[in-house]
Symmetry: C2
DNA sequence: TTCAAAGAGGACCCATACGGTCCTATTTAG
DNA sequence: CTAAATAGGACCGTATGGGTCCTCTTTGAA
């Protein structure tokens, strides 16, 4: 089954939740424990995902008390491919295209050598054309600057 | 790293080799040991791949002495997606789209529920538009009905 | 008629990768 | 000064899949 890792799935859910709760660029922040509660994902896992997303620059972490995370870009500006690369690493369907380092032992007789590139490009293109906004759908709630929105959870 | 299984990679190589050596529909057959030698892939692994491809109807196995395998369709009529499905199973990037059976524990609060379908469709479309002929490249040798072609290997 | 060569169909083992957890250090608001 | 939160690791158990092997069936040829 060609599938992406669970962590990537979690990352999409978490980022969608950040947007929904108003943790937009230069907005308020959302804590990892809070996101865990809101998404139903275990808290250490949420923390791990957010740390990785932070290293990739997709979210911004504010340390200290009253710290938390917020997006660095609106969801519509984040292609899905970028999240996958951040969590899973480069998108390359076969090992033999990862640069010249891992020399394939059968390269002398391999009939398809170098021909996977169009396939990888097609996949990357498909995943780049979809943004997290497409996955998250319309934000049902206005940015939760209203207290009523918060307690309604 | 979003990648397909090694077995799928092997399958493409083996099928490309079948075509190259003239094991076309209604043509001569090619044995698993012979293909292993020709491709550099271990013989039990080649046999395993061919058995799976046979179940999927992508190759035809002829039993008995002088038996072997041949393609059931020319490479240009085999989309890459079909090989991936045969070896890896259905193409679905996340678990939550595999029908209703594996109910996601967070389905009540999941913000992206049901929105992965366009992503999966895009991937499937990209992989369906590429045929094995694209991956194998031009067949350098004419179908090996000439004995000279065979011994030249 | 017998034998050898080849596919069909499983069962099985093991290494790797990944999910998941936890620990410690650092930062910062109150 | 303390509590709350992120940052950055280390660590472990399990599940998946790659790879091998064994047995049975089929079939051409001696």
């Amino acid at each position: 089954m060609l599938r992406l890792s669970k962590l990537t799935d979690y990352a999409v859910v978490v980022m969608a939740r950040l947007a929904r709760d108003g943790a937009l660029p230069h907005g308020q922040v959302q804590t990892a424990p809070g996101l865990a509660l809101a998404t139903g994902i275990a808290e250490p896992t949420v923390a791990k995902v957010l740390k990785i997303l932070g290293q990739a620059g997709l979210v911004e972490g504010l340390r200290g008390a009253r710290g938390g995370y917020r997006l660095t870009r609106p969801l519509a500006a984040v292609p899905l491919s970028e999240v996958i690369v951040a969590i899973d690493g480069p998108i390359a369907l076969t090992a033999c295209v990862d640069g010249g380092q891992g020399q394939c032992e059968a390269q002398g007789i391999c009939a398809v050598r170098g021909r996977w590139d169009p396939v990888n490009d097609a996949i990357r293109r498909a995943l780049s054309d979809i943004t997290l906004a497409d996955l998250a759908g319309p934000t049902r709630c206005a940015p939760a600057t209203h207290f009523a929105q918060l307690v309604a959870e």
